[in-house]
């Protein structure tokens, strides 16, 4: 027992609380979960439903890829079914998985802990957000059964106002999901503003919280515009309001402006928390203070602000004026800068560190590789003349997946592996963890890199039939998708196995210096027995491995290495 443990609440051996009172066993029974206001339990419930949606969206993806093995008609599905499949894949992955993904599951669990608070500002609203998510998801599922939409996840008018699938129900579902997102964002902003304990100044906040804060701002500012857009779409379909109908004096392209005014910032809703996760992980697993804290924090805010000004780059070929295209192109290049700054800062953090290649760090390296490609291919799409060629081809599909999957999902997996011991008090198999990370990396690149090549050769996306010249690329891509699928099955199996048989986790298995590692694993109902002492969140060198505990413990002042 080191002295520090008694100072932070006196946990038992290694700070594992599985046998004692923790948030998982504080109350028992289904009802205690369904009606909980504990941010940790809500985070875990989000994790369950969000990963289920990811699984469902993934099945659609595998079916789509299987159809695309051959260029012509397929016995697997007809063109209409294919159109519904890619719409559902997109809508489920975007609205049910990636947008709420990191903030609602990892964010909910970690945010108050990192901040040193007992809960989010409005626990009841937090639970309401969860049930709004469930309600929205239910509407979306019902629409799937009663006439799955075939509009693409972007719901472009006038196609969406004239197709005979169940657009209203799906759109209503997304509308409700939007409210869930708004309330989560509102909750987080108020929590960060008002519930910081003494000593937790803005610039002592972990960078994950800066990422979540930037995300929350976008959620609050952009989602209402999606709300009104979807209401207009519903009014157009149900009442024939004529606002997007050229025959009635409406303008179908206005919908695209409205939609992208939300959906472009939404891309940053997805990526900002991911960048926050990477900032945490890269410091902890390099055993070194993060490099350039202020630049990383400020670049999150810069991204949040600039993200509102670039929606028009989705419409370079839709017929907006040359002047607007010019402005949007310029701003698009500017929004790339903060991301580049972050990448350089993360690399500098690794410099002269002690790089520990544990599973979460493998995801960080994957992220740098994949997000590097995703970000750089954005330059092609930002350059007006080149975008004209690449727009609406597989190049865009690949770019989008490199950013959303290579960025957000990889960071989500990294964060999940990083906080898993804290959430459930057990370690997963490190060996299988690395295998899983490798499979995902290889499978992902095989699937989507081929799509860059296919796209630059002019293969249009959302195509059931394609030219025979693209068959080889499609085959390779599908093989990649299968490898990816196997990777996810491996991950699911060892994570579930760890819940039952995993080695009990210490309070601080990775040597993180943020506050959540001062709580036991899993944390008690009230997070901290006493308000934890707030220090530098990246002072990871103050923590050292202790074989007796099986985790990291804080050095006593005498052990501090000179110069840090």
């Amino acid at each position: 027992m080191t002295g520090i443990e008694s100072a932070t609440g006196g946990f038992g051996s290694g700070g594992n609380a599985l046998g004692r009172d923790n948030y998982l066993n504080h109350e028992r029974g289904i009802k205690s979960w369904l009606l909980t206001r504990d941010h940790k339990r809500i985070g875990v419930m989000y994790l369950v439903v969000i990963l289920s949606s990811f699984f469902l969206g993934g099945i659609f993806a595998e079916l789509i890829r299987t159809k695309l093995l051959t260029p012509g008609n397929s016995a697997l599905m007809k063109a209409d079914t294919y159109n519904q499949m890619f719409t559902l894949h997109g809508a489920i992955m975007i609205f049910l998985f990636v947008i709420p993904g990191i903030p609602a599951s990892l964010g909910n669990f970690v945010l108050p802990l990192m901040l040193g608070a007992k809960d989010v500002a409005f626990p009841r609203l937090n639970l309401a957000s969860f049930y709004l998510w469930v309600g929205g998801a239910t509407l979306a599922l019902v629409s799937m059964v009663t006439g799955a939409v075939d509009t693409g996840w972007t719901f472009y008018t006038p196609y969406s106002t004239t197709t005979n699938t169940n657009v209203i129900l799906m759109v209503a579902g997304v509308f409700v999901l939007g409210f869930s997102s708004i309330f989560t964002g509102l909750n987080f902003v108020v929590t960060i503003h008002k519930l910081r304990p003494a000593g937790m100044t803005w610039f002592r906040m972990p960078l994950f919280l800066w990422g979540i804060y930037g995300t929350a701002i976008i959620q609050i500012m952009a989602t209402p515009v999606l709300g009104i857009t979807l209401l207009l779409l519903i009014a157009e379909r149900a009442l024939g309001i004529g606002i997007f109908d050229p025959a009635l004096g409406g303008d179908p392209v206005l919908f695209q402006h409205f939609f992208w005014f939300y959906s472009h910032p939404a891309v940053y809703i997805m990526i900002l928390p991911a960048m926050g996760v990477i900032s945490e992980l890269v410091s902890v697993f390099s055993r070194k203070h993060i490099f350039g804290y202020t630049f990383i924090a400020m670049s999150s805010i810069a991204i949040a602000v600039l993200s509102f000004l670039v929606w028009g780059h989705h419409m370079f070929v839709a017929g907006q004026s040359t002047l607007s295209s010019m402005i949007f192109s310029f701003l698009t290049f500017m929004v790339a800068i903060p991301s580049a700054v972050k990448v350089f800062n993360w690399l500098a953090t690794m410099y002269k560190g002690s790089i520990w290649l544990a599973t979460p760090m493998l995801y960080v390296l994957s992220f740098l590789f994949l997000f590097g490609i995703g970000g750089l291919t954005g330059l092609f799409l930002g350059a007006l003349a080149v975008d004209v060629h690449l727009h609406d081809t597989y190049f865009v599909v690949a770019h989008f997946h490199y950013v959303m999957f290579g960025g957000t999902v990889i960071a989500f997996l990294g964060g999940l592996h990083y906080w898993w011991p804290k959430m459930f008090g057990r370690m997963y198999s490190e060996f299988w963890g690395r295998i899983g990370a490798l499979l995902v990396f290889v499978g992902f690149n095989t699937t989507f890199f081929t799509q860059f090549v296919m796209g630059s050769h002019g293969a249009p996306r959302r195509s059931y039939h394609y030219q025979p010249q693209f068959e080889a690329y499609h085959r390779l891509s599908t093989i990649g998708a299968y490898i990816l699928g196997v990777g996810f099955v491996v991950i699911a199996v060892y994570l579930i196995h760890s819940l039952l048989r995993g080695r009990p986790a210490p309070a601080n298995p990775w040597g993180g210096a943020t506050l959540e590692w001062q709580a036991s694993s899993p944390p008690p109902h009230d997070n901290f027995a006493s308000t934890p002492a707030v220090g530098d969140p990246y002072d990871v060198e103050a923590w050292t491995w202790d074989g007796a505990v099986g985790g990291f413990v804080r050095r006593t002042p005498a052990e501090q290495p000179a110069g840090s």
Binding site: Y159, F291, V341, S354, F369, V386, H389
Partner: protein, 329 residues
């Protein structure tokens, strides 16, 4: 200045083609394609440089600084370095502004047609393209002369479509209720693929057509011959051509399935119940009346929504359509 830019452009293009060997872009079919590929190559090499830089640093750091016995602690190093961070903020800004300016310049060229361009009207509909030439001829493929600026005036009849010719690096959304204009000038005679890139429903991925680029003189010959299809084709064939290109196919099917109007399959000589209780025989006279005065004899179960084709179809064209309907047993 111009020369310098030209040399740099050529260099990039050469490097792009050499290194990739056509790995990335399709053939260059238009003047625009050449200009676009220059920028593509520039961005490609900038991206490759930064990507290699990032991955190399990453790999070198992992190898040199990986955690191992004797290296359980990080070496002391600064936690920030403002001049360095400003440097790696400013350099990317400068590079991206460069890419932006060049990309915008080419975009302007692509969007400014020369004054003497030859005009073809393009109509997108579910799920095909129709091309109307200045003499009124309508065709399902786009025929153009080589080395001539062509201006396309495009609109859609239903939902938004996307007109895309990869070899020309040409793409534009085709929006109902407005006319959008693009132009190109083809470099080599040959056939090039046209796609629809804006998702438009069941047949979206079948909405293919060809650009046929003719040698000098060939286009005029083709247009004359194609416009005279009424004289050169048998009437039933000509009628089928009219069916496909003059808007009949929008509402009338030829395979017996439903539509806004009655199907043409088995229509000829059948007994048609008319609104008001009459029954008429669908003979030549009946069909002709339906084309010229559609609201006079509306079949039971259909709305009187067909526009008149008086003045839009000539007598011999109507005859050809009737001949075509006769073949649909």
């Amino acid at each position: 200045m111009n020369l310098g830019r030209d040399v740099v452009g050529r260099l990039f293009n050469w490097a792009g083609v050499q290194a990739a060997g056509g790995f990335w872009m399709p053939e260059q079919g238009s003047t625009t394609a050449v200009a676009v590929d220059h920028i593509f190559s520039l961005v490609l090499w900038v991206s490759v440089f930064f990507f290699v830089l990032i991955v190399t640093l990453m790999v070198v750091f992992v190898v040199r600084y990986r955690r191992r016995p004797g290296r359980l602690e990080a070496e002391p190093s600064p936690t920030h370095n403002t001049p360095l961070e400003i440097t790696w903020t400013v350099i990317p800004i400068a590079i991206t502004i460069g890419i932006f300016v060049w990309g915008f310049k080419v975009y302007l060229d692509v969007n400014t047609p020369p004054a003497n361009a030859y005009e073809v009207m393009v109509t997108g509909q579910k799920w095909k393209w129709l091309f109307t030439y200045p003499n009124g001829h309508v065709d399902e493929n786009l025929h153009v002369p080589v080395d001539t600026p062509i201006r396309l005036v495009m609109t859609s009849e239903d939902v938004i479509h996307g007109f895309y010719v990869p070899a020309f690096r040409l793409k534009r959304d085709v929006v109902p209720g407005r006319y959008v204009k693009v132009w190109f000038s083809a470099l080599e005679p040959g056939e090039y693929q046209i796609y629809c890139t804006q998702y438009c429903g069941t047949g979206h991925s079948d909405m293919w057509a060809k650009v046929v680029v003719h040698r000098p003189g060939g286009f005029e010959r083709w247009l004359e011959q194609a416009s005279n299809f009424m004289k050169t084709m048998p009437p039933a064939k000509a009628g089928e051509m009219l069916y496909r290109t003059r808007g009949c196919a929008q509402c009338h099917t030829v395979d017996g399935s439903g539509g806004t109007g009655p199907t043409w399959k088995g229509l000829f000589a059948s007994h048609v119940p008319i609104e008001g209780g009459r029954v008429m025989v669908a003979d030549e006279d009946y069909i002709r009346t339906c084309i010229l005065d559609p609201t006079k004899n509306v079949p039971v179960g259909f709305q009187p929504v067909m526009p008149t084709f008086k003045g839009r179809l000539k007598d011999d064209e109507i005859t050809a359509i009737i001949e075509y309907i006769k073949t649909l047993k």
